[in-house]
Symmetry: C2
Subunit: 165 residues, 2 copies
DNA sequence: GCGCAATGGTTGAAGCGTCAAGTGTTCCGG
DNA sequence: CCGGAACACTTGACGCTTCAACCATTGCGC
């Protein structure tokens, strides 16, 4: 009783899978080469850089970056060793930990951002017509309603503000 | 001199990143739960199941699955341990190895396919209007021209044939 | 207040991917 | 043909993610 895919659906699907498979590697490669950061490390630090006080609780940071607390904890430990992030106990809740971007961390993000945005333009946005960008916004939005109904991952961007990618 | 992203571009980009980040996990989870296979294992075996004789040379298989030869070699070793795939030296070229799907491997793919297709429908295709599926096909195609100019990853599907995802 | 589940986070071992180095073929110039 | 370069992998060590177990703190029922 499986509803198999039509030819059109199959092609759309195969291409989407290929994009999903290839895009992370492309971003990863550029960032690692030019900034010595993994995409995940960059993303975590970018989230911190946009947060008030450049600090966020581990749980919030994990949600925004779609990571388990464990993964985040390990990564923050490594970033801490490199002096890019610091941990600070949360005064309001003794169980919680805040991750704080250091000055060096801020500079690292600032330095990495332009190259990253360039890469995004090169591989995605500049490949599309303006109307396709709109279509992509709608399509990705529709898919996200299924994948992430609460919009946890896009939360920081859901209310229009001037922010970098 | 960085061309920063416009509001529209930023939103499209943020959502695409979220999809790219979330979709693999969603597929992974369903497959692992229902079939005990990782998405990559499933994908490799699906490629084999569609190949003539259900066999492919390691290099070709690696290209189709966007993996390094090393990664593929490790994965094939594990699948071999589980009796789902076998290695056979290639008679035509002494350097080459063929990966062959076993009967058990074929049954595993057959068993996993319906659930996987269901998941694809649930999370992506059924979330979109028919015209959006067409748009997605064009958009993903345009991005792939940048990411994978030679169309290595979509090669098996470039010529229309009746095949499952 | 007291006990106990829930919350927030860390840790260590195991598994998978990557990278560098290695083995054995095949191709090819001379 | 003979030697070296290119090719098709394989292997082992290292790094990152996951998973399960763990500890400390907080909230809550009573």
């Amino acid at each position: 009783m499986t509803r198999w895919l039509t030819e059109d659906e199959l092609q759309a699907w195969v291409r989407l899978v290929a994009v999903v498979e290839l895009l992370p590697g492309s971003l990863e490669q550029q960032l690692r080469r030019d900034s010595g950061l993994s995409h995940f490390e960059y993303y975590v630090m970018a989230m911190l850089s946009e947060a008030p006080e450049r600090r966020l609780r581990m749980t919030a940071l994990a949600a925004r970056s779609n990571a388990t607390l464990s993964r985040l904890s390990h990564v923050v430990s490594r970033l801490e060793d490199r002096g890019l992030v610091e941990r600070a106990p949360c005064p309001a809740d003794g169980r919680a930990t805040n991750a704080v971007l250091t000055e060096a961390g801020w500079r690292a993000v600032e330095a990495a951002a332009p190259g990253h945005v360039e890469q995004v333009r090169r591989t995605v946005l500049d490949a599309l017509e303006p109307q396709q960008v709109d279509q992509l916004r709608a399509i990705a939005g529709a898919i996200l309603d299924r994948l992430d109904p609460d919009g946890v991952m896009t939360a920081p961007y859901s209310r229009p503000q001037g922010q970098r990618a």
